[in-house]
């Protein structure tokens, strides 16, 4: 059975498959409960209208079908007003039928039977309409929730689009920067691939934290994952206090740590036996900031291998107010101190956007 062949589907489609302002059933059934007094007045008005309509027709009807106009009156009262309005309309219809000459008690052989049938049918109409009102209200509430969810999903898709484009822009910048420092295509691929992996790890971490400020400890572990446990001597991490890295600085910090580790493996402490790297951090008292110390030992007198290379350019570009980088090539080994500032205002704004 096709959708159009099913009358119920057709009715539902007509009633609900339109924009909210064009849904006839919704306009028919008010959401808010109508006060009892107003319901009674409305019910009386509905039956009053039926009486007025019947009066000029009476000479033609001659007492037949005494409730023919009161059924739609009671239904309309139930739909627009509620149970009390319907009961009022029915009561007025009964009174009218009883007292009017030529109707029930003046012409019918068994006047109580049509009266009882009318009351019974009206009660059924009232109950049906009541259930319909409840169902429609439930649908309306669900529709509102659906629309809110749809709006939220649209916002998330837009946000995702923005972040994907931003990531592509970042990758594009890394491509150009790496290309400037590569000798040939093979060299470019060798240099770029791990940086792209670092960028990918940054995206994974931010996705895991739902784009909220990640914990510094997790960020460090993720950044150095390719180097931890695979290199002997390993990098030793000495945890400091808890610190959340601002989202705006997370990608930069991951790229910085990746570059530090890469340089250590190529030219520094991790490039030969006896070398060691210690990464520690201290959360600065009274200020929403932390200080990270990357200290390489065991390999003395390393000259700056990246004076004009990718690393130097990266550190120069990424170093700014929220991340300050100070590198030193000392006789005892290479050290790098990173001051990282939290941006609580930005975090609050971001939190507001995400919730």
């Amino acid at each position: 059975m096709g959708r159009l062949m099913n009358p119920l589907n057709m009715l539902m489609s007509y009633a609900f498959d339109k924009s909210p302002s064009h849904r006839p059933v919704w306009r028919l059934l008010p959401l808010e409960a109508v006060p009892v007094g107003r319901q009674m007045v409305f019910g009386a008005a509905c039956s009053g209208g039926a009486v007025l309509l019947r009066l000029p027709l009476e000479p033609f009807l001659e007492g037949r079908a005494p409730f023919v106009l009161f059924f739609p009156a009671a239904t309309w009262a139930a739909l627009r007003g509620g149970s009390t309005a319907a009961a009022t309309a029915v009561a007025i219809a009964v009174v009218y039928a009883v007292i009017t000459p030529g109707l029930l008690f003046h012409s019918a052989p068994q006047p109580w039977l049509p009266l009882a049938l009318f009351a019974f049918a009206s009660a059924l109409i009232g109950l049906t309409v009541r259930e319909l009102r409840l169902a429609v209200n439930e649908l309306r509430v669900r529709d509102q929730a659906l629309q809110a969810a749809h709006k939220h999903a649209h916002l998330l898709v837009c946000e995702l689009e923005h972040r994907v484009k931003n990531s592509l822009a970042l990758a594009s910048a890394l491509v150009k920067m790496t290309a400037r420092h590569s000798e040939n295509v093979a060299d470019f691929v060798r240099r770029f691939e791990p940086r792209l992996q670092a960028l990918s790890r940054a995206q994974t971490l931010l996705t895991q934290t739902e784009w909220r400020a990640p914990n510094l400890s997790s960020l460090i572990e993720d950044s150095l994952a390719p180097f931890l446990g695979t290199i002997d001597p390993a990098i030793v991490i000495v945890p400091g206090g808890t610190f959340t890295v601002p989202v705006a600085s997370a990608v930069s910090l991951i790229l910085i740590l990746h570059e530090l580790a890469t340089n250590a493996v190529k030219h520094g402490a991790l490039s030969r036996p006896g070398g060691k790297v210690q990464l520690s951090w201290v959360v600065e008292e009274g200020a929403p900031a932390t200080r990270l110390d990357w200290i390489e030992t065991g390999v003395a007198k390393i000259s700056d291998p990246n004076r004009t290379g990718f690393g130097a350019e990266l550190f120069r570009v990424l170093g700014r107010d929220s991340i300050r980088i100070h590198r030193a090539f000392q006789d005892s080994g290479f050290t790098c101190r990173i001051h990282l500032k939290a941006d609580r205002d930005a975090e609050r704004r971001l939190e507001g956007l995400l919730t």
């Binding site: 689009e161 484009k165 601002p246 107010d321 930005a346 704004r349």
Partner: protein, 120 residues
Amino acid sequence: MTQILLVEDEPLIAMDIAGTLEDLGYPVEAFAHTHAEAISRLSHMKPDLVILDVNLAGGREGLDIATRIRAERGTPIIFVTGHTHSDIITFARDLGRTVVARKPVDSQALASALQTVLAA
């Protein structure tokens, strides 16, 4: 020489855009990475062109900066954004002397945006 202020919170992207602009003959005079930095720069300089990231630190603070710029002067603006929202296009059109360039910004798109906005 056209004085350009570049407002972009991601330093690598800022450097990339600045490099592209330099190749096109438009070196960047000043950088800002945050809303506050941008406002501070604007109070000290009168750029001939502002290149503005729409999303700064999560929010659409670029739009607020653009509104402030337009309230004070008619400086042309190039928005750089990953969004394809029609509301940003409408906002830019209503603002006047504004062009929207999509991220990642390529040299051709930036050249075209510069031509449009500086000729207006």
